[in-house]
């Protein structure tokens, strides 16, 4: 459980985090989303006490992080930047952290196996690839068998097998009843793992919602119908929760609140011929872009470069 109240961080003139209020609940994966520079990492650093809030507060399992007797048992965190000494082996890195809490050697071996680092555990961590470094960071986060797991951009630099591993790991941790808080700027990745979403932009809370709600708010699932008898179909489909739009005289209708299957069946019952029946789902990526458009800190010079990338991820 993580609770932030009016959490604010200012660096001189610049406000990195601006009055954030949110609660991250146990038993679900909560995605923490926002464009680059939205204040995600700063927020996470404040949660584990590396940065002190300018005002407001954040507590973990009811207390500020630093007040806990065994902090690593409360929150296991993977932060954005490398947090290792490159000259120390992965095993010794984990062992030195374990020593501060009296965590036994057997647990160190356990997380090494869990992260798939068995074969490289004795090598200098500085020689690790980006992906291996991420795995070591995750091993360190799980070391204290924490109630709350907080990962900043965990899939960065991981190969497809690693990405899949993270996805399953996050779900498994949440199923065990732990609080899982994961930041990302990849909406599509979040859509696959997160149940709940906290979206920030320019340090402000933009949305505290669920994946289906976000999509619904962004226009939801629309079905495009083309028929010669638009007026009759409109009457046949009308009902509570159904919204039908279309220009008068046009053959095309946009229907929300009904699935393509329901529309097709209704049309068949009434003997209405359909020329086209196309469900169009608003991708999470689009919903996210709509929400954060005004809050993007660093705009590219062209939007064209973003589109194929976004399309590629959704596909």
């Amino acid at each position: 459980m993580i609770e932030a109240q009016q959490l604010t961080k200012r660096y001189g003139e610049k406000t990195a985090v601006d009055g954030l209020d949110f609660t991250v609940k146990p038993g679900t994966v909560t995605g923490f989303l926002g464009p680059n520079g939205a204040g995600k990492s700063t927020t996470m650093r404040m949660i584990v006490g590396l940065d002190a809030p300018t005002s407001g507060s954040v507590t973990v399992n009811g207390q500020p992080y630093a007040r806990h007797r065994a902090p690593l048992q409360e929150v296991g965190a993977l932060l954005e930047a490398k947090s290792i000494h490159p000259g120390r082996s992965a095993y010794h890195h984990l062992r030195t952290l374990a020593l501060t809490h009296g965590i036994p050697r057997s647990r160190v071996d356990e997380v090494i196996d869990l992260a798939g680092l068995g074969s490289v555990a004795k090598k200098r961590a500085g020689a690790f690839s980006l992906g291996m470094g991420q795995r070591l960071g995750i091993a360190a986060a799980l070391l204290g068998d924490p109630q709350t797991v907080m990962l900043d951009e965990p899939v960065n630099g991981l190969d497809p097998a690693g990405v899949l591993w993270i996805r399953n790991l996050l779900k498994a941790l949440a199923d065990e009843g732990r609080t899982v808080f994961v930041s990302s700027h990849l909406m599509s990745e979040m859509a696959l793992v997160a149940d709940h979403l906290i979206i920030v932009g320019r340090g402000r809370l933009l949305a505290d919602t669920t994946v289906p709600d976000l999509i619904a708010e962004a226009g939801g699932d629309v079905v495009k119908v083309v028929t010669g008898e638009a007026g009759r179909l409109r009457d046949a489909l009308a009902g509570p929760g159904v919204d039908i739009t279309g220009r008068i005289g046009s053959e095309e209708l946009q229907v929300t609140g009904l699935s393509a299957r329901e529309i097709g069946s209704t049309a068949a019952e009434h003997g209405i011929a359909l020329f086209e029946l196309t469900p169009r789902t608003v991708s999470l990526e689009e919903a996210f872009m709509n929400l954060t458009r005004d809050a993007v800190e660093y705009h590219g010079s062209t939007t064209a470069t973003e589109t194929p990338e976004a399309a590629g991820r959704t596909a």
């Binding site: 006490g49 590396l50 002190a52 690593l72 490398k82 290792i84 000494h85 000259g87 020593l99 068998d145």
Partner: protein, 282 residues
Amino acid sequence: MSTLTTTAETEAPAAAPARPAYRVTGRRVLSSEWAKLWTLRSTWITLGLALLFMVAFGLIASARYKSNIDSGHHMDGDFARSTAVSLSLFGTHFAQLALGVLGVLVTAGEYSTGMIRSTLAAVPRRLPVLWSKAAVYGLVALVVATLGAFVTFGIGSGMISGTPAAMGFSHAGVARSLLGAGLYLGLVGVIGTALGALLRSVAGGISVLVATLMLIPGLISLLPSSWQDNINPYLPSNAGESMFALTHDSTTLSPMAGLLVFLGWTALALAGAAYRLVRSDV
């Protein structure tokens, strides 16, 4: 993945009471810092260098003194007045660089690599980390330096036996000087760790360390001489030197006063480091 699911199955029903009772304690932070120190290759290399400087330069000085005496060469004043102690401790000035630099690396190295984030996430109260680092490394530097001082004197005093400088371990003040040198270098190590934590930069820490121990005494000579006499004995390097010098005169502090002044400098550096550690973000 299979590992995770099995642990999940065994742990989930047990819930809260079955969780191991981990806890951060001062002793555990000490043991962690001890492990951190010895799991880096740079520790072994730098400590080896410090010991080498200490022993090798002490023996070279002793050998040169001996050969000058034997060949009847004229020696300039300072060198002619050497004692077995001053010859053996000739390497102290070089060893202090190695030990001080390693001290800076112990703390500033964590900032330059990012390790400090892991360290402070594990010990968010922060100050135990600084005290542990200073204690662990200070002790290690003390042991290495004391060992170096006694070994060098053991061999060096044998080399120059029969010369005016000859002395044995039982000679008045010898043991105190050798122990003083060990203590001085141990405290230099502590000052290094404090400077590293204060400045959070390896280059910055080393620069300030070298300036404090080696450059400032030279700069003081630019001041009017009446000021010099008042300031000089209290400079870190001179106060430290009083700790292990065999003889003292009116311009230097007594060994005990030197120790107290040098401890004061050490405490000042540690206080600055503690202030910055607690007050600023990582």
